[in-house]
């Protein structure tokens, strides 16, 4: 890790002025648990860290007529212990609970939870996000791909989106506010995550001189039954093998509208639209939840060593649906 400059601005304007036009010029810093590790491994280089935790307004959760607003510098622990979030959005609590480390809860911020870089071991060991060899062939397809993508992997990107909050936010119809030198723009969470197609592209819609400042869950999502189910490799801290986030608008026992988003199966959170459409007009029971799981994994394209994730994704959908209507199981 090379030496870097450091700044802790108190205003957004100041912070934006400290970022550069290249990724290496400066890095947005908040919790730091992912960024510092990447810097230590020389996977990321930076000339300057811009600490956004001192910017007023970035560390609060509040409600308005538009919905629930979560500042990017709110910690996972603050979100986890927020009563309103607990009551309305159990899927967020499920996702936070999946991060089994209280240390990460206390340090990590919501912005970083969404913007953390992929865990792909080729990427983390310096072979690049797309992990291509000198002939342009994928190291992932040739090598050990047991934790890689089973959807959206026809292009060069085979890694999986690491955030467990991403699928939840998309299922809840969330938006992200991005501030840059030209002002603010609101991006649907579903459009924030992208699959890079060539070297140098990233897995999100940010430019190097932009900052995620706020996440909004629209008022329209209030009252939707929601849950996240994740299949974990172990009891302690680790990233999930597969996740499924669901949000259901119910009329009595019948599904009026559904959103199902798979996580950790593709280079971005992966909406299962056909499965969600199929559920409309149905009740959520063991049989229908299982059928929705079957529909959600239609068209999966597993690699040589990750076929097992198809079954895990299928089960994740089933259990998330049952959890959303109150049948929680460990």
């Amino acid at each position: 890790m090379d030496a870097f400059e450091y700044a802790k601005p108190s205003s957004l304007k100041e912070a934006l002025g400290l970022l550069g036009s290249d990724w290496d010029d400066a890095s947005v810093f908040a919790g730091g648990t992912d960024l510092i590790s990447l810097l230590k491994d020389d996977v990321v280089d930076t000339k300057r860290l811009v600490n956004i935790k001192g910017i007023a307004g970035l560390n609060r959760v509040h409600e308005s007529a538009e919905g629930v607003h979560i500042g990017a510098a709110v910690t996972v622990e603050e979100l986890f212990s927020n009563r309103m979030i607990r009551e309305q959005f159990p899927a967020i609590i499920d996702a936070a609970e999946g991060i089994r480390s209280p240390q990460l809860h206390n340090m990590s911020t919501v912005g970083g939870w969404l913007c953390q870089r992929p865990r792909c071991w080729y990427y983390r060991n310096g072979f690049g996000l797309l992990a291509l060899d000198k002939d342009g062939q994928s190291l992932v397809t040739q090598g050990d791909n047991r934790y890689h993508a089973i959807f959206g992997n026809s292009g060069p990107a085979k890694f999986i989106s690491p955030s467990s909050f991403g699928p939840v936010l998309i299922a809840l119809g969330g938006e992200m506010r991005i501030e840059g030198p030209k002002g603010a723009r609101d991006v649907a969470a579903a459009d924030f995550f992208v699959i890079p197609q060539k070297q140098g592209e990233r897995e999100h819609a940010l430019a190097p001189n932009e900052i995620v400042t706020e996440i909004t869950i629209p008022a329209a999502s209030r009252g939707m039954r929601n849950a996240l189910y994740e299949v974990r490799p172990k009891e302690g801290l680790d990233w999930p093998l597969t996740t499924a986030a669901v949000a259901l608008r119910m009329r009595g026992d019948t599904v009026e509208r559904a959103r199902i988003v798979l996580g950790h199966v593709a280079p971005k959170p992966w909406p299962a639209e056909d499965a969600a459409k199929w559920l409309v007009g149905k009740t959520i029971n063991e049989e229908n939840a299982a059928k929705a799981g079957d529909a959600a994994v239609q068209g999966a394209t597993p690699l040589s060593r990750n076929g097992y994730k198809v079954q895990l994704a299928r089960v994740s959908v089933k259990r998330a649906l049952l959890a959303a209507v109150g049948e929680r199981r460990v």
Partner: protein
């Protein structure tokens, strides 16, 4: 003699009289600790290569702008004055912004209770408290820890005896090699201070931020349940 004889006694009693004098002599020898011996040896070898090192330093340092007074509140990459409040004491240091709290504690302040193991926010051996909450000091910048109350394992332990959590670890055989233990004690103490009535099931979900390669998790969970009871009656922090 049982191998446990060297451990502090849980009841606080002293060893029998006939051993006292021998102990005092041993203590004198121990005062020249392994750590201070290593440090002394280190100085000798550094002196031998100091010329080469100094030359490197000068070359490296020259193009780097020094801190202080730069536009936009930007400091570094050279050393900047940093003030940390550790275990109730104000400590002033000059550190580069890239220096982690863990390295500041271990390398600059001689507080070696927090351990460097994974160094990547995963294993928990470096756990300290920031304003009473457990954090990984390996990925906390020292410069960013300013203005917070930092507690290390050295600050947790009372002058005499053991903190109830350390005592409970002792009682429940919650360590084997012991290298992860300071981090575990810090994580578990912070947990019990925020959750005074822990359940075994709750612990399974809530203490996943530390790793023990010896696999003493069963003992650690028992220790946390026991310590929660003692901390309630005796008060949390010593």
């Amino acid at each position: 003699m049982s191998p446990h004889e060297d451990k502090p006694r849980p009841d606080g009693t002293e060893k029998p009289d006939e051993k006292r004098e021998k102990n005092a002599q041993e203590k004198k020898l121990r005062d020249l600790s392994r750590r201070s011996f290593i440090k002394g040896a280190g100085i000798a070898s550094v002196a031998a290569s100091a010329g080469a090192l100094l030359a490197d330093r000068v070359l490296e340092a020259a193009p780097r702008p020094q801190s202080g007074g730069m536009a936009g509140g930007v400091v570094g990459p050279g050393e900047v004055p940093i003030t940390l409040k550790i275990n109730g004491q104000i400590r002033k240091l000059n550190l580069e912004p890239r220096v982690m709290l863990l390295d500041a504690l271990r390398n600059h302040l001689d507080l070696t209770g927090a351990k460097k193991v994974c160094d990547r926010a995963t294993c928990g051996a470096c756990t300290v408290h920031l304003d009473g909450r457990a954090v990984y000091s390996c990925t906390t910048l020292a410069i960013d820890a300013q203005g917070h109350d930092i507690t290390t394992i050295e600050g947790l332990e009372p002058k005499e005896g053991l903190h109830p959590m350390s005592q409970a670890f002792w009682n429940n055989d919650a360590q084997q090699c012991g290298f992860c233990t300071p981090g575990f004690v810090m994580a578990c103490t912070a947990y019990v201070e925020h959750e005074p009535n822990p359940t075994y099931e709750g612990l399974q979900k809530s203490l996943g931020g530390n790793l023990c390669r010896c696999g003493t998790y069963m003992g650690i969970r028992e220790a946390v349940l026991e310590a929660a009871k003692t901390m309630k009656t005796k008060g949390g922090r010593a």
